[in-house]
Structures are given as structure tokens and as C-alpha cells.
């Protein structure tokens, strides 16, 4: 059986566009609100990444940090995150869910128990920011047994030899980090350069989907539309922060933003 993630990419390809992946932090700003946001953006996004907030995030820029600290402050616990996924997945035409976080949260929960729970509530993929290859080899196999994709991260600093090895061990989806940056940095490399790097990665195994993330906004998304998929995270987290500041409804504002992003890549 195909992982719903594969189906999402297939559908986008059929429509001759990249898949749109969104990233929001689970529990931002509350458990219920983050569920409402998922429901609202579901219509426009193809795959939903849900961040597991952690309080020592070594790869996240200020926007996602703000979201994560806000969620933790409002009491989000790992069980609540599973609750959000479970509720969301009950919705008709729900989209694939990828949980993204740091390894300590999984380590404390127990790898096995964590994956069982993921499977039960309907998580389709995982991104573990600080569990790189080859450290993640055994975890990759455990994910496989539960039909959950472990998405490998690839960076501009990843050597050719390493790229080959990582992609060989990877599942059907990989994530290319556009530039040397934490999440949400200003795009400091030209889209052309990013696409050149992307093509090199894509060539290693054209069958595997590669998404691009980090620094993608409403402005830049169109220039990268040749990719299999594009991830927008910090821009969305920022929208939530701004909405809260202006006492507006984050749910409608985020939905509008995602809608706009979608039109840019059609």
C-alpha cells in the first residue's frame, strides 16, 4: 500500500505543480487552536508538517522558537499532540501528517512506544532534526515497520558521497535545506542556485521525492516551483504571532496565507 505521502505527491504532479507543505507548531497557541488551523489549511495544503515544540531547539530561527515557547507555555504535552493528530485525521479528506521535532522527545517517550502511538493516531511521516544519518539508521528501520516515512534532511554542506549514502537508505521523501541557515532565515542564496543543488540531489534517485524548505515565503515560493514539494514554516508561524499581536483570528489569517501560497504555485 502506498503511503498517503506518495499519493499527495502524485496528485500534485498530475496537476503539474509542486506539493505544498505547511509547518505549524502543535499547540500554537493552544491545543484547540492548532487543530482549527490544521482543519482550515487542509483545503489548500498537500502535506501538513506539525512541529513538536522543544525548548532547546538548535536549528530553529526566531519565528518557530516563538511559536514553540508559546505552545509550551500554554501547556502543550506530547499526548496533546497525538490528540491533535487523531482529531484531525478523523476529518474527511484529511491530508498526510508529518511530525517534526527533536530526538530527545522521542527518546524520552521510547522509540517503540512513540512509533506505535504515531501509527495509531495516523502520523504518516517523521522528521527528526537532530538525528542525522548514520545515527538514524536503526530508527529508520523501526519507522519502516510501521509504514511511517522517516524524512532525511539534506543540506548544502552534505558531501556528494554522503548524499548518495543517505538517499540510498532513505524512504520515498527527502528534505533539502535550501541554504546555510536556521529555519526562517532570509533567503541568502538565489533560487537558481537552490534549484541547481536540488537537481543534483534529484538526479541521484529521481524516484524519490525531494522537497525544499527554509526561508520560503510568499515572495520566493514561485521561483522554486519546479521542485517536488515546497515547505513553508516560519512565514506561517509569523502570521500566527502577528495575528495574536493584532488581536485578529490566527485561524482565518493563516488559512488566507496558505491559500495565497497555493495560488502562487498553480
Amino acid at each position: 500500500m502506498l503511503n498517503p505521502i506518495d499519493l499527495a505527491f502524485k496528485k500534485a504532479k498530475k496537476e503539474n505543480r509542486p506539493a505544498l507543505l505547511t509547518y505549524t507548531v502543535a499547540g500554537d497557541s493552544t491545543k484547540n487552536q492548532s487543530l482549527l488551523i490544521l482543519n482550515a489549511i487542509s483545503k489548500y495544503a498537500d502535506i501538513l508538517e506539525l512541529g513538536v515544540p522543544h525548548n532547546t531547539p538548535v536549528a530553529d530561527g526566531s519565528q518557530i522558537q516563538t511559536s514553540a515557547y508559546r505552545a509550551i507555555k500554554n501547556g502543550i504535552k506530547i499526548e496533546d499532540i497525538f490528540w491533535i493528530v487523531k482529531k484531525y485525521k478523523k476529518k474527511k479528506n484529511s491530508k498526510p501528517i508529518i511530525l517534526m521535532g527533536y530526538y530527545n522527545m522521542i527518546f524520552q517517550y521510547g522509540e517503540k512506544k512513540f512509533l506505535e502511538k504515531c501509527k495509531k493516531v495516523g502520523v504518516n511521516g517523521l522528521i527528526v532534526v537532530d538525528l542525522p544519518w548514520p545515527e538514524n539508521k536503526s530508527f529508520t528501520k523501526k519507522c519502516e515497520k510501521k509504514s511511517i516515512y522517516l524524512v532525511q534532511l539534506l543540506s548544502p554542506t552534505t558531501s556528494k558521497e554522503r548524499l548518495n549514502k543517505i538517499i540510498k537508505d532513505s524512504h520515498a521523501m527527502n528534505y533539502f535545506i535550501s541554504m546555510l541557515s536556521t529555519t526562517g532565515g532570509k533567503l541568502k542564496v538565489s533560487p537558481k542556485k537552490i534549484m541547481t543543488n536540488y537537481s543534483k540531489i534529484k538526479k541521484i534517485n529521481p524516484k524519490k521525492n525531494v522537497v525544499i524548505g527554509f526561508g520560503i515565503t510568499e515572495k520566493s515560493i514561485k521561483s522554486l516551483k519546479k521542485a517536488d514539494g515546497l515547505v513553508v514554516g516560519s512565514a506561517i508561524c509569523k502570521e500566527i504571532s502577528v495575528s495574536i499581536q493584532k488581536r485578529q483570528n490566527p485561524v482565518t489569517n493563516v488559512a488566507n496565507l496558505v491559500k495565497k501560497l497555493k495560488y502562487k504555485i498553480l
Binding site: 538548535v58 530526538y103 524520552q108 537532530d130 542525522p132 545515527e135 534532511l153 554542506t157 552534505t158 535545506i177
Partner: protein, 411 residues
């Protein structure tokens, strides 16, 4: 889990950088894999390179000033009335603390790798101050990340960093202390690893940083070994080495050369920060049995909640105010080579008062923790027991806190 003899502890990790199969490692974002591998290759090559070692020793000798003094605390010994109490006055080193060794080595490595900028974290401000000194000495641009709370409480070191031309970047996230400073520094390195070298201020972080720091601070025990033999003719039959432990860089360096001695002869005692007596918060993950978790790229015992969120710490001493602990110390604890305990803020202050009352020595709040336990335990020991406390920092930076807590007389 076993400690091997005749192999430096920093080299006892496995292929993936785990000591005892479970402490340390490299839990880092993909972007840092390459710069870390480059640094590993460079360090592994240079630590065997005689020319590089000669260069290091030249700067250690002429610039840092080696050896630092090894002195008997006669009055304190008399007052306590038990074991002989000695001190290795590491705060004699240029800049006033042991952090200078690691900073110097990182700058030498940065020069070799062709990097023009070096970034680092700091808690008490010593790691930052020393890095700013070394960066200036070696012509590197320097960026220091420091928690906003620590900037407030360790002003003298902040001024020193700025004077040396470093940019001090306040960190406002989380608890605004060392833990957040390290996170922010790592984030900066993620975004700038092509032009910038990173110096982690203690024996923490991804495995290579643990190794470089331990290799650098081991200068302390190399000197002490010679000084002990000079003084006593041989390594004393009963030797007790007391050291405070935050991240664990000074204690590891203080013990390293004595690792292969039987612990009945050379005992290591690590003293963690227990925090305010009335507070539940502490910075003593080894003493209070914290669970293994991942912090700043390494598996270690760390204060955390059941979800795996890192818990806030509390200690009067900014240099010990860290929720985790070096993988090297986790390894030494589980192999039972070292013994760990903690004292409260109040006990550390009491020890500071005693030491300064009887001796011409002003240990900072960090080594005051070690003095507290050394004084307490020395009472019950025989006269032929040699207690050595590493006075690894000077109290000048703690002026404001000492004045507030003990009155003007002690500031």
C-alpha cells in the same frame, strides 16, 4: 561499562562518539555534519603533530603562564584540623580562569582551518572573556553569545569581552542563561559554518568539542603531577582532588593525568551546584539522578521533565548553572571512577567566607562549591591525606553578588 587504562579518556568513545556506548555522540542538524567532520579530522591530525603541540605549549607557557601555582593552605589546614589542604591556583592563568586553555586551542584550530571568525557561548563570562582574548591575540573576529540574565550578573567579564573587541550578543530566549546561550551559538554556527569556527565553552556539545576541551584543560593535571612529585617526591598515597562541576571542563582537566591511578590512591570528587537551599531547582544532574537525555548534541544526564523538555536550573554561580553535564563525567560516574555530590548556594558562600578569612585566595563562586565539600570532608581525614582543590576562577567577576549576599566587606 569500563574505563580503559593507557588510553586517554577523550579517545575512549566509539566510532559514533559515544563514551560507554551511550554518552555523547553527535545529535546535530545535518548542516553541521560536515563542519564537525572537518574539525574532527583537523583535531585528530594536529593532536599527534609535534609542531602543533610545540606551538600550543609555547602559547600556554608564554601567554597563558604555566605552571599555575600549587600552594598549601596552611591556615585553613590548621583551622580545619584534618587532612592537608592544598590548592591548584588555576585562576593564576592569564584572564583568571581555566577557560583560557580551551579558547586558545580553538583559536589555533580556527587559524589552521582558515576561518576568520570564531563564535562561542558563555555563562559566567569566563569562556567568553577568554575566547575574546585569544581571538584578539590570533587576529580572529569574535562573537560571544550570553544569556541576558548572565550579562546582568557578570558585568566585569562582559566589559572585558567588549574591551577585547568581541561582539556580545544577549540571548533572551528561555531562561536567559548558559543553556540558551549554547543553543543560540549553535544556531549561529548552523547559519554561518562556512566562514565561522565555533568554540563550545566546556566539555559539552557534539563529541569533538568534548574532546578538544578535555584535551586543552588537561594542562592543569599535567602541571599538578609534576608539582606533586616536586613537593612530595612521588604521587601521595592518599590524594583527593576536589573540583566544581558545571559543564565539567576544569574538573576533567584537573583529573585527566591521574585517571589510571587506583581510586583508593587518587580519588576524584566532583561538586555540582545544588542551587538555593530553599529551592527545588538545581544544576546537579549527577547528584540528583537526572535521566539520560539529549542536550546540545550529546546524550548525557540532564535535568528534564517527563516530556523531554529541558528544565530550568538555578544556582548562584553562573558558571555551574547548566542543566546537563559533560558526557565524560557521565562516563566517570557510571564507571565509578569519580564521585559526585552537590552543595547549596549558601554552603558555597560560607566556604568563600572561610577561605578568604584564612588565606590570600579569592576563589570565585564556582570553586567555592568545591571548597565547601573539601573543608567538610578534610575534617575527618588523616594528616597524611593530601586534599587539593582546584581554584579554577577568581572572585573578581562575582563582586556584585558577594556584596549583595555577604556585605561590602567581602566584595
Amino acid at each position: 561499562m569500563k574505563l580503559k587504562k593507557k588510553i586517554p579518556v577523550i579517545d575512549q568513545g566509539n566510532k559514533l562518539g559515544f563514551w560507554g556506548g551511550k554518552f555523547g555522540g553527535n545529535f546535530v542538524p545535518e548542516t553541521l555534519k560536515k563542519p564537525i567532520e572537518d574539525l574532527e579530522n583537523l583535531f585528530n591530525k594536529l593532536k599527534k603533530d609535534k609542531k602543533f603541540i610545540a606551538e600550543r605549549d609555547k602559547y600556554f607557557k608564554n601567554w597563558i603562564g604555566t605552571p599555575t601555582r600549587f600552594i598549601k593552605l596552611e591556615n585553613l589546614t590548621k583551622y580545619v584540623g584534618g587532612a592537608q589542604i592544598w590548592s591548584k591556583v588555576v585562576s593564576d592563568a592569564n584572564g583568571g580562569a581555566h577557560k583560557i586553555y580551551n579558547a586558545t586551542v580553538h583559536c589555533l584550530l580556527a587559524k589552521r582551518s582558515g576561518k576568520k571568525i570564531i563564535c562561542g557561548d558563555t555563562g559566567a563570562g569566563y569562556a567568553g572573556k577568554m575566547l575574546s582574548m585569544a581571538a584578539k591575540k590570533f587576529g580572529l573576529k569574535c562573537k560571544i553569545f550570553m544569556g541576558a540574565k548572565d550579562i546582568e550578573r557578570q558585568q566585569p567579564n562582559v566589559r572585558a569581552m567588549k574591551k577585547n573587541g568581541a561582539e556580545v550578543i544577549p540571548v533572551y530566549s528561555g531562561s536567559q542563561t548558559l543553556v540558551d546561550a549554547v543553543s543560540e551559538c549553535m544556531r549561529f554556527w548552523v547559519a554561518n559554518c562556512d566562514t565561522t569556527a565555533m568554540c563550545v565553552g566546556s566539555t559539552v556539545g557534539p563529541a569533538v568539542f568534548v574532546r578538544i576541551c578535555g584535551w586543552s584543560t588537561s594542562q592543569i593535571s599535567r602541571e599538578l603531577k609534576v608539582q606533586l612529585i616536586d613537593e612530595f617526591g612521588s604521587i601521595p598515597k592518599k590524594l583527593k582532588l576536589y573540583n566544581c562541576v558545571g559543564g565539567g571542563s576544569s574538573s576533567f582537566g584537573f583529573w585527566n593525568e591521574f585517571m589510571d591511578y587506583d581510586k583508593k590512591q587518587c580519588e576524584f570528587i566532583g561538586v555540582e551546584a545544588g542551587g538555593p537551599a530553599k529551592s527545588k531547582r538545581h544544576a546537579a544532574p549527577l547528584t540528583y539522578g537526572s535521566k539520560i537525555g539529549i542536550l546540545h548534541g550529546a546524550a548525557q544526564y540532564v535535568n528534564q521533565n517527563s516530556d523531554g523538555q529541558i528544565e530550568e536550573t538555578e544556582s548562584i554561580s553562573a558558571g555551574l548553572d547548566y542543566p546537563g553535564i559533560s558526557p565524560l563525567h557521565c562516563f566517570l560516574k557510571d564507571t565509578k571512577r569519580a564521585r559526585y555530590t552537590a552543595v547549596s548556594d549558601e554552603e558555597a558562600l560560607k566556604a568563600y567566607k572561610l577561605v578568604t578569612k584564612y588565606e590570600k585566595l579569592r576563589p570565585s563562586l564556582e570553586p567555592s562549591h568545591a571548597f565547601s565539600v573539601a573543608i567538610r570532608e578534610a575534617k575527618k581525614m588523616s594528616k597524611n591525606t593530601i586534599v587539593v582543590v582546584n581554584s579554577c576562577g577568581d572572585a573578581y567577576k562575582d563582586k556584585k553578588i558577594l556584596k549583595n549576599r555577604l556585605g561590602k566587606k567581602y566584595a
